[in-house]
Amino acid sequence: MSSYQSLDIKRRSATEFTPPAIRSTGLEVAKLIDVSKCIGCKACQSACLEWNNLKEDVGVNVGVYDNPHDLTPHSWTLMRFSEWDNPDTGNMEWLIRKDGCMHCEDPGCLKACPAPGAIVQYTNGIVDFISENCIGCAYCVKGCPFNIPRISAVDRKSYKCTLCSDRVAVGQGPACAKACPTAAIMFGSKTDMQEQAARRVEDLKSRGYANAGLYDPAGVGGTHVMYVLHHADKPEIYHGLPNDPKISPLVNAWKGGAKLLALGAIAFAAVGAFFHHTVVGPNKVSPTDEENAADLVEEAENGSPQPEPTRAG
């Protein structure tokens, strides 16, 4: 309920028409992750686990710094480390990216979700999973262009970063952004974050990163979690950040207008059948048919040859 009071709903999963969010303030929020400032300390992971009371399993070392090794139902954010040899400078660069929900303007998860209200997008841009409505079908996983949602084996609910909607609702920033020691994670209005990013890009360019830029992919309508990248021309070097993410055409086909067409086809078939019945009438067996059959049976029983039936039906 509080979502209606403080963070009006812009989109709601599996709901064709959401009531207009008349209380919208028009303020869209965004988290800006400046990869060039990030020291990979995992304070964001720690703060996320603590704020959301998540208990992740203690894992093992598999030869990398990434722990846990992937996002999980309990780890909604994760530092991903990539050692990249820069062919231009000959230097190795250690690229560290905080992975997690991008809070797309056009969220694939929401599009794919079949459960009404299990995924909502508030007018401020936050995409939130509402567990009580979640049915655990994992369609959101298929819908997401960034491979973010994870289904809990315990309660079969889907989980991901909420952008701390509970904190934002009372005027605070997300826990990760607050904790981030180097201000590599900033939080504010999307326009402010874009301006901030522009300044950062300028600074990076002055330091020789000619391709520095903001990652706010248009393919998903822009995101409410954006990255400042030193090599924005090659997002994939940051542990496989998609180059041009968009909702898969397969998902669009699956979840698009074809759905109504399909239902229409079913309805048409049913209605068509009804009218066929009305027009043609039932296909009834006539008494003649019965007699013909009876004759046939009789003849067979009598052992006489079977003439061709002659009676009309």
């Binding site: 959401t18 300390c41 304070a43 720690s46 209200g117 981030c180 059948a273 009804f274």
Partner: protein, 199 residues
């Protein structure tokens, strides 16, 4: 009437209720439903805040501890969350991965709760009272000090030292603890005395 009835039945079985529900598919269903999604209520709204300093490194970040309980007589306070202090001039609300998880330090499973004692040669700890532990420690100290205290060195200079018992102090304790520790240790004549400062 019978024909009418059978038509309906036909629709239900053949069309699996499509006709009725295609209407729903046009979007009249969701709008009527009470939308019950809820943002998790902000969980620090009614907690008691206490200022502290992160006990780990020497940046000494300011932290705010959020406690259950309003300090009234009959409620026992309990920590539920710890976060950076936005006023603090150094950390300005930020915390590192250790500081951000301080709550789990306070509440660690391996926090010690009772004095334990291990007998010589034993392979286990046993729980003892504070009085037992403190009496025994003081006795062992005194016996060792009386046996090994050096009042004068071989040149006859008063040295008043006790070097057979040593003390490692903790550089995460407060200055006040350190002050009291220093007084107790030095007044006994101990010289084997150190802390993490040169490790």
């Amino acid at each position: 009437m019978i024909g009418e009835f059978s038509r309906r039945q036909f629709l239900r079985t053949a069309g699996a209720g499509i006709a009725g529900t295609t209407l729903g598919a046009m979007g009249f269903g969701g709008a009527e439903q009470a939308l019950a999604q809820a943002v998790r209520p902000f969980r620090l709204a009614q907690t008691t805040e206490t200022r502290n300093t992160c006990p780990y490194c020497s940046v000494a970040c300011g932290i705010i501890m959020y406690g259950l309980g309003d300090r009234s007589r009959n409620t026992q306070a309990s920590l539920i969350h710890i976060e950076g202090d936005p006023d603090h001039p150094v950390n300005r609300g930020t915390l590192c991965p250790k500081g951000a998880a301080l709550l789990d330090f306070v509440k660690a499973d391996t926090r010690l709760k009772h004095p334990m004692y291990r007998k010589p040669g034993s392979d286990k700890f046993e729980r003892v009272t504070w009085d037992f532990a403190l009496d025994r420690i003081a006795r062992l100290m005194k016996d060792d000090r009386d046996a090994n205290f050096i009042e004068k060195n071989k040149d006859g200079v008063t040295v008043n030292r006790w070097t057979t018992t040593g003390f490692l102090a903790a550089s995460a304790t407060t200055n006040e603890t350190a002050t009291l520790t220093y007084k107790v240790v030095r007044s006994a004549g101990m010289l084997v005395f150190d802390n993490q400062a040169r490790v």
